[in-house]
Amino acid sequence: MYTSLFYKEWIKARKLLLLLLVVFAAAVAYTLLTTIKQFHANPVAFWEFIVENNSIRTGYMRYLPLGAGILLAIVQLTPEMHNRRLKLTLHLPLDESKILCSMSGFGLALLSGLFILSGTALLLGLRIYFCPEIVYSDFIASLPWWMGGFTAYLLTVWICLEPVWKQRIFNAIPALCCISLFYTKALPGAYVPLLPWLTVLMTAGFFFPFYSAIRFKHGVQ
């Protein structure tokens, strides 16, 4: 049964996944090529920047996880809410919370795969030129962006599942505030003390869609 649920999500998301793979691959390639270009163009200035900022300027990827999370949630949930097809999904002979977990779980797994793949490619590419300490520091600095992608996905699922349009707008406001926490401009590494709190926020996001689903089940209009 779970295989079947994942199959349904796969049919909805596969084209977007292909698009995201291309975009992320292009972004990784662009980031690496730009870094290499800067490295060779003016090595002294480049190293000076790294030493001063403790970062390699991989900011081209900054908003990609966010976009991926939002788009994936929309692609998965919009067909379910159109004509209230979610009724058909929730009518399947399986516990409703398990159905919702499977749908969100599929999206999170897809995003994880995409983020791990592109993140690993980026870090391995950088590792050719930079020592592990610098690459690790860059990874930690970019971690909130990746976490923001997961959180944006979960909060968009929450908004999409909400049955009332007006309430969707009300939901979008705290969601935007919450997501903006992951993208506040700060010196690289300044986020490190906040990472546990951002993890809590991201984890809490998993439970939000259940509230919308309960409202949908109660026929709130």
Binding site: M1, T3, S4, Y7, K8, I11, K12, P79, N83, R84, R85, K87, L88, T89, L90, H91, L92, P93, L94, D95, F216, K217, H218, G219, Q221
Partner: protein
């Protein structure tokens, strides 16, 4: 006799607008019950309550003895649900949707689905979103046949279908439910289609059940009476329903015999002549019971 659907004291409001108060009805195993009502009387609301997608203000519905809000997966597997407009997961193609549903139902009858779809001018890889409403109705019906549920809940199954597809849908459905002794709860705004299918009939009026009787009883007993009279008006009561002047003559509807109707008409001193009696179709009976407006 087993009760498959049981609704007790259902009360529901949309905001301040009352939809029902203390609605009670039951559907026994093997019965085909049609829910009739004008627009806005709450037919889809009842379907939503029954399937657990609307929490009524008060009351409870049970299907297979389980409360509608907490239907177990086992109970759900015994209920075939057709949404208004034959809505299905339109991003699938014909093969994909069969593959998707088949894994949820151990008794899945793949051949029943493909048998029905053989007659459609569609390819197995055609997306449901590109199909006409009529073709979609056959896909939805094929999926219901393959699921082989004990209870079918069909919400406005005629919606969007042309006469050909409507007839096709009704014929296949009739054959299936008769052969398999299924219980069916359905609504439709095309009452001629219902007449071909249903054993029992609930007619909803605004806020209440106007009538819950076997269809055969309504068709045999409910009559339209035409007559001439110089009376300015006739009082409405249990015998005379929706009495109104149509041009130069009068019309009334009743379950009573012609003699009883005549007695009732002249009771207040009115003169009545040329009283005639007509048998009715279910649609005419529906109009007679609920009025034209």
């Amino acid at each position: 006799m087993d009760t498959i659907i049981q609704c007790e004291n259902i009360t529901h409001y949309y905001g301040q607008k009352m939809i029902y108060e203390h609605l009670n009805f039951e559907v026994a195993r093997g019965k085909i019950l049609g829910l009739l009502g004008k627009n806005g009387t709450g037919k889809t609301t009842i379907i939503n309550i029954l399937t657990g997608y609307l929490k009524p203000r008060a009351g409870i519905c049970r299907i297979f003895g389980e409360a509608m809000e907490r239907l177990s997966p086992a109970a759900k597997s015994r209920i075939g649900l057709l949404l208004e407009g034959h809505v299905q997961h339109a991003y699938f193609n014909i093969e994909q949707i069969e593959k998707f549903y088949s894994r949820f139902f151990p008794q899945w009858k793949r051949e029943a689905y493909y048998e029905l779809l053989k007659k459609l001018q569609v390819t197995p890889v055609q997306k449901i979103s590109t199909m006409s409403c009529g073709q979609r109705s056959q896909v939805a019906l094929g999926l219901l046949f393959a699921q082989d549920p004990d209870l079918l809940i069909l919400d406005d199954f005629s919606m969007g279908l042309d006469p050909g597809y409507r007839r096709l849908f009704v014929e296949y459905l009739k054959e299936y439910i008769t052969a398999e002794n299924k219980t069916v709860f359905l609504t439709s705004h095309i009452i001629q289609d219902m007449e071909l299918l249903i054993d029992d009939c609930i007619i909803l009026d605004f806020g209440r059940i106007l009538l819950h009787e076997p269809t055969s009883y309504i068709l045999e007993r409910f009559r339209r009476f035409r007559f001439d009279s110089d009376a300015p008006a006739f009082p409405a009561n249990d015998i005379l329903r929706n009495t109104e002047r149509i041009g130069t003559h009068w019309e009334t509807y009743s379950f009573a015999s012609a003699a009883e109707v005549e007695r009732e008409l002249v009771k207040n001193g009115a003169t009545v002549s040329r009283l005639s009696e007509d048998k009715l179709s279910l649609e005419d009976a529906f109009i007679g019971l609920t009025g034209k407006y």
